[in-house]
Structures are given as C-alpha cells and as structure tokens.
C-alpha cells in the first residue's frame, strides 16, 4: 500500500480516537515543554556565565615595595608569559581617587587617612578566558612573579557558582530523562489501547490476508504524528511563555545587569522536534512488540 494511504488511514484512526490521541499529544507536549524549558535555561545560563568569564579580566596587586620605575620590567615579564591581551597600570593614587568617587558619602573617612593604603595594580585581560582551569593556572604563574602581591580574578565565587551550576545541570538532565520516559510510557499505552480497541478490525485484516506491515504501519504513522505534534505544541507553548516572561525580566533587570536572554536555537528546536517524533515512533514500537509477541 502506498505511504499516502497509510497516512490517510492513520489520520482516520486519529479522528476516530480523537480523545485518546489528544491526551497523548498533550502529554507529549507537556513533557517536551519541561525538557525544552530546562534546555532553554541551560543555554541561556551557559551563555551568561561564559559572558562573565569572557572578560577574562584579572587585577594584579603589587607589593608596597613596588615603584612605577619597575613597571617596564614587570610588564615585560608578564608579557613573556603570553596569554595577555591587554594591560593597564593603575597607580595607587588613581585607585584612591576612584575609590573616593565611588564612596563619595564617606569623604570624612578618607580625610583621616595619613597615607594611601592602596597598592599599585595592573589590570589585565587574558587571551584564555573560556577554560576556567587555564585561567587559574595562568593567574598562579603571575602570582609567582617578583613584586606581585596577589592576583584577583573572581576565582572564589565563580568556581563555586560553576560547581553548583554543573550539579544543577546534571539534575536537569535527569529530570529531562524522567519526563521523556513518562511521555514514552504514555505513548506506548495509547498505542496499546488503540490496538485493543481495533482488535476485531485487525483480526479481520489478518483473515483477508493483510501482512504485518499493512497492519502495523498506520500505528507507526500515528505514533510519528503524535510525537511530532506533541513536540511542536510543547515548543509553541514555550515560545509564547518565553516572550511573555523574557520581556518582563529584561525590563526589570536591565538597569542592574546586562542579560542576553535568547530563545532556543533553530538547531535545538529541530533536535527537540526530532526527539519527540522519535519518541512517538519508539513508544509505538515497544507497544506493538509486546502485544504481537
């Protein structure tokens, strides 16, 4: 039988079992919605964290014995390590002025200072900023140089945050797996119910000489439809929710922090639709395999 006839048959079967099919499509769409939501969060969170890390900026605080005459020598030693994209010297006088302007309400406190307590510093931007371990190793090398007191590159909180984030990511993947399993179970169950509701029809088909492929193919087509429509519906719901929520987030947080929130990439959306379509097919396969054993 040509594929168009299988498709027509599958559509007719979907129409005759409307409620059951609707339940399955909605269940798949909700599962896909949860999975896509996790993916959306991780895609955006990864980009934001990368953005924080991307500056690759580090502050090198110099010892009190350091004097600006030593700067060319120190710059040369730092440059010889490679990895530095940009370097700017911040004398302690400018650092104090910057501090005063940022804490203008505490001018009285600054007046009591007999000498500038701040050290000279060098602000650098590293070429390597994607790999957190490389950044840490490079910072350690600079820290070992003569006249360098300490290197600050946000290692403490960023490292901790990355650890928490990776834990969260693993939990997210586990949740995605769980929801996909639920969708698979529901799809397999729908096919089983549809099969039993058409037992007489299948028995008659066999009696008049229908092949197993003739009997099974409409079920597979139905499974593919359910998976595809479920995936599409899940993504559309997520898209609608995204536009509603993301505009609110941007308006409220844009004054404090720059957040580049984007919807899932076309590739990710394609993968989600493919995965949910496969899910529909696989649920059908498992069910028919068990029933026809």
């Amino acid at each position: 039988m040509p594929m168009t006839r299988y498709i027509k048959k599958a559509l007719a079967d979907i129409r005759s079992n409307r409620f059951l099919n609707l339940i399955t499509i909605v269940t798949i769409s909700l599962s896909i919605l949860v999975v896509s939501l996790f993916l959306l969060f991780f895609e955006n969170a990864s980009r934001v964290i990368e953005g924080w890390n991307q500056g690759g900026r580090a502050m090198i605080y110099l010892e009190s014995a350091f004097s600006p005459e030593m700067l060319p020598d120190l710059e040369a030693r730092i440059n010889s390590l490679g990895e530095v994209d940009e370097m700017q010297f911040i004398p302690k006088s400018r650092a104090l002025e910057r501090l005063k302007s940022e804490m203008s309400s505490h001018t009285g406190f600054f007046d009591t200072l007999k000498q500038n307590p701040l050290p000279h510093a060098l602000e650098i931007r590293m070429k390597t900023h994607g790999d957190f371990q490389k950044v840490a190793a490079f910072a350690k090398k600079i820290g070992a140089l003569d006249m360098v007191e300490s290197v600050e590159y946000g290692q403490g909180w960023l490292a901790r945050f990355l650890k928490i984030f990776s834990l969260f990511r693993i939990t997210g993947y586990a949740m995605c797996g769980l929801f996909l399993l639920i969708a698979l179970f529901i799809t397999a169950n729908t096919v089983r119910l549809a099969f039993y509701s058409r037992r007489l029809e299948i028995e008659i088909m066999r009696l008049v000489g229908a092949t197993e492929a003739f009997i099974k193919t409409p079920f597979y087509v139905e499974g593919l439809f359910q998976g595809f429509l479920g995936g599409l519906l899940g993504l559309l719901i997520l898209l609608a929710a995204f536009f509603t929520v993301s505009s609110g987030i941007s308006q409220n947080l844009s004054a404090y922090v720059y957040l580049d929130i984007r919807f899932l990439s076309v590739k990710a959306m394609g993968l989600i639709i493919l995965a949910s379509t496969f899910l529909g097919w696989f649920g059908c396969y498992l069910s028919l395999k068990q029933i026809l054993k």
């Binding site: 039988m1 005759s16 008659i204 066999r206 008049v208 000489g209 092949t211």
Partner: protein
C-alpha cells in the same frame, strides 16, 4: 482415495487430527477436494465442522497429519507467506466479521487494499461486486445499520471480490431467516458456477439439500463418518 483424482485435488487432508487439550476436535480426517467442487460439511454441534475450516485457513494448526492446498504443505508455510495464502481464500462467517466502523464499501475494498491493488481497480471491482449482491445502494452504510441478511451479503461480497479459488463459509446461514439464507446460498452457487471451490459448514441440511448440488461430508465427534453426493 482415488489416485487420479488426488493428483488434481485442490485441497488434500491426510490423517488430520486437532486436539484442544484432551478433547479431539478432529480425529484422523482424510479427504480430497477437487477444484470446482461444492462441499457441504454437516454434522451436529461440536462435530468439528468449524475446526475443519479453521485448520484450512490456518487460524488453527493441526496437532497431527498434513494439509496440502494446491500441493502446498500448510505445515511448511512461514508466517510471512501466510497472508498470500489467505488471499486465495474467501471467507464467510456466521457472525459476518465486518468492521463496524467502516462502510460497506470499505469493508469489501479491504481485501483488494491488502493485496496492493490500484485505487481505480478497487473502486470498479468493489462497485461491481456490490451491484451483483444487491448492496450497491448501501455502499456508504455502516454494517451495524444493516439487517443480518444484508450484512451477510456484504460478507459474501467481501469473500468473492478478490476472485479467490476457494470459498470457506462457516455457518453462513446460521443467523439468517429462510429468505436471506436462500439469497446468500444463491450468491455462493453463482460464484461456484464460475469454477470456484466452495466449502460450506452448516447444520442446515434441509436447506442445503434443496438448493445445492455437490458432496456432503458428514462429521461426528471429529471423525469423518460419511460422504455422499447431493443431487
């Protein structure tokens, strides 16, 4: 068994036995059926009439013995070749076995669809058969809306639409009134005139004897006890 006739036999049963647990449904049945014969299988309830038909279309496997159809040993038929074998049969059942959610046209067309025929051919052939059985005007009706006689006429239409060599009918008149039963037998006989081999299992001996010319095979407790010619 006549050697010459056995060479031409379309159906051959050799010592066929079918057991359901300890119960013998068929007991050492051997018979040859020639192409174009009208065979009437009679006997009391539980004699093994339906079982005999079931082992022929492989709804049941025999416990012992062998069955050849056109020289093909049914014991050696693989699952993948079974559909092709069944397309050679037309089948009629007492409970009609029509798909309730499909129209009369769709029920009859199914036989040709599974055989992979073209839609234009299916349309032409199905309408022709429905015209022959007087069901043309009911082509779009659903089976539950039809009378028993009409449903059986649709079942007969479905049985003959694929031009099978052999028709197996299990109590085709069992749930019909006299007039409808006669109509159904008329259709089967008309198809028989075209050269088909027909096997009808029924306990309605009087109706058969009054209408059919052929051979009567009598079963009792699974055994073939008598064969006679009906004139």
């Amino acid at each position: 068994m006549n050697l010459d006739s056995s060479k031409q036999a379309i159906i051959r049963l050799f010592n066929v036995t079918k057991r359901y647990g300890a119960k013998l449904a068929l007991n050492d049945v051997s018979v040859d059926i020639q192409p174009g014969e009208f065979i009437f299988i009679s006997g009391p309830s539980g004699a093994g009439k339906s079982t005999l038909l079931k082992v022929l279309y492989l709804a049941e496997k025999v416990s012992e013995g062998q069955i050849l159809i056109n020289g093909m040993n049914l014991a050696r038929i693989s699952a993948s070749k079974l559909p092709r074998l069944r397309r050679r049969f037309g089948m009629v059942f007492q409970d009609f076995k029509l798909i309730p959610g499909r129209t009369v046209y769709e029920n009859v067309a199914l036989v040709l669809e599974v055989a992979g025929e073209k839609p234009s051919y299916i349309r032409k052939k199905v309408m022709h058969v429905l015209r022959t059985t007087g069901m043309e005007k009911k082509a779009n009706a659903l089976p539950p809306t039809l009378s028993g006689g009409e449903q059986q006429r649709v079942a007969v239409a479905r049985a003959v639409v694929g031009d099978p060599d052999i028709i197996l009918a299990d109590e085709p008149t069992g749930s019909l009134d006299q007039a409808s039963a006669r109509l159904v037998l008329d259709f089967l006989m008309a198809y028989h005139q075209k050269g088909a081999t027909i096997l009808v299992a029924s306990h309605n001996l009087h109706l058969m004897e009054s209408m059919v010319r052929g051979r009567n095979i009598v079963l009792d407790q699974g055994q073939l006890v008598k064969t006679s010619t009906m004139l």
